[in-house]
């Protein structure tokens, strides 16, 4: 079965393009090769090196940024393809205070509280992923927290403290003054493990 299609005109190809993005609320633009990934665009052209590039083929999750609020792999997108859209990177998670300082976000604070990073390479991708994950599900169970970060690899922590940080971040979003347990989150488990 064939039906007729309105004839169209072929569009010209480009090897360079001016890319315009709103990054962390600020309009940014640069002319780049069309093969420039969004990750490289952020790092090389906009000097926003908080986004980390690990595997460069979508497996490790370190380069995760928010595209119009949803987490995506910035190494699997061409900057030219997302021109006109809004991006949030790790640099945009904290909130600028009236005195010019930046207050860390609840997820960032939770990572500090729970010792959820060691070398820190995966952390930008973890933080962006969890920020979006908690926006969708503000009260995750521990299993849902595991699912939330299942697309992000961490070679240091063994993930346990990151899962705890997800739960702690959910708590902080509900109550910014929620106290930390005296021994920290993992002390009891560690004591049991050592015994």
């Amino acid at each position: 079965m064939t039906t007729s299609v309105t004839p169209g005109t072929a569009v010209p190809g480009e090897t360079r393009r001016v890319v315009e993005l709103t990054v962390n609320g600020v309009h940014r633009s640069a002319e780049v090769d069309v093969r420039r990934t969004l990750a490289d665009f952020l790092r090389h052209d906009l000097a926003l090196t908080g986004t980390h590039v690990g595997c460069e083929h979508g497996v490790c999750g370190a380069c995760t940024v928010l595209l119009d609020g949803l987490p995506v792999r910035s190494c699997l997108l061409f900057a030219a393809t997302v021109s006109g859209h809004s991006i949030t990177t790790i640099e945009g998670l904290g909130q600028l205070q009236p005195d010019g300082t930046t207050k860390v976000s609840p997820v960032q604070q939770a990572f500090r509280d729970c010792h959820a990073l060691q070398c820190g390479f995966c952390t930008p991708g973890m933080l962006t992923t969890i920020t979006a994950g908690l926006a969708e599900n503000p009260h995750p169970t521990a299993q849902q927290a595991v699912d939330m970060i299942s697309g992000n690899l961490c070679r240091c922590t063994g993930y346990q403290n990151i899962v705890e940080a997800v739960l702690r971040a959910a708590e902080l979003m509900e109550n910014p003054d929620a106290p930390l347990p005296d021994e920290g989150f993992t002390a009891d488990e560690h004591a049991k493990g050592d015994a």
Binding site: G8, R35, G58, G61, M148
Partner: protein, 293 residues
């Protein structure tokens, strides 16, 4: 790990997109369509392919619709997996969609990857390829020569090879509705949640009228991924009537899994038999829930 240089084309209409593909085809150029890019960009990054031209359809209007009718669900070329997964009406009409989409990569990949794109990629380890064949769906392709509807059974030619012509754009996919009273399920086994499945099975069971006095008959069909070169569907009605051991034997004899770093062919064959039984049991449980409700 950077893609080789290419020229990028940014059509705004389907007519422009297919005219561009036709012009490149006429010049003998190697062009690929870029939608979500979640399979294509890794292929480019690893330089497994170096097409000189990418036709980016992300700016094409009208390709992001999910149309649901009692007949089934039509999914446009720019519908992201995550959008289809969240679409309650589509998943009421064909529950296999969300059952399988939950297992497609990770949530982050599903935010960008498109369902039609994963069909066009024709990866035999893709969940949605298996769902398209199991549901007897089709892909609508368009080129300057016109539109044509390609039945699922004719769409997948080999691993990573579809019957789309070089100048054709996959415009939409159609997943027929689940039959009345049917139960469906989708199960798979992967090394890590979200990774490529070692094996996966989708099941559709339809309770039917008695063939003989007192003996209820059930129609059972299963679709398989990661265990054959193209998505495979088996009618297991008779095997199921003969028992679970029979299902496992029939399945294991019908599939052709390969060895790789993740699992041996024998292991894949073994677990695929078990997964088929699990999928059928789960689908039957849904039928009973439905009947009880």
């Amino acid at each position: 790990m950077k893609p080789a240089p290419f020229r990028m084309y940014a059509p705004h209409t389907v007519a422009q997109a297919v005219a561009t593909l036709a012009a490149l085809e006429a010049e003998g150029q190697h062009a690929k369509v870029l939608a979500g890019g979640q399979s294509l960009v890794p292929v480019l990054a690893m330089r497994l392919a170096e097409p000189g031209h990418l036709v980016d359809i992300n700016g094409v209007a009208g390709l992001d619709a999910i149309d649901v009718s009692s007949a089934g669900v039509r999914v446009g070329a720019l519908v992201r997996h995550a959008e289809l997964l969240r679409h309650a009406e589509a998943n009421r009409v064909q529950p296999l969609l969300s059952q399988a989409l939950n297992l497609v990569a990770h949530a982050t990949i599903r935010n960008r990857g498109t369902t039609v794109g994963s069909l066009a990629h024709a990866d035999p380890s893709g969940e949605m390829t298996a769902v398209l064949v199991l549901t007897g769906g089709s892909v609508t392709a368009v080129s300057v020569r016109g539109e044509r509807e390609i039945p699922a059974a004719e769409f997948f030619v080999g691993p990573l090879e579809s019957s789309l012509a070089a100048d054709e754009l996959a415009l939409s996919a159609f997943f027929p509705a689940a039959p009345a009273g049917a139960g469906t399920a989708f199960v798979e086994m992967a090394r890590r949640h979200g990774d490529y499945a070692l094996s996966g099975v989708g099941a559709v069971v339809i309770p039917g009228p008695s063939r003989d006095e007192g003996a209820p008959t059930i129609s059972v069909s299963c679709g398989f991924l990661s265990v054959s070169e193209t998505p495979l569907v088996l009618d297991l009605s008779d095997a199921w009537a003969a028992g679970e051991d029979s299902v496992m034997a029939v399945v294991r004899a019908a599939i052709d899994p390969q060895d790789d770093i993740h699992a041996s062919a024998d292991y894949r064959r073994h677990i695929t038999g078990i997964l088929a039984v699990r999928a059928i049991r789960e689908a039957l449980a849904r039928v009973r829930e439905e009947q009880a409700a």
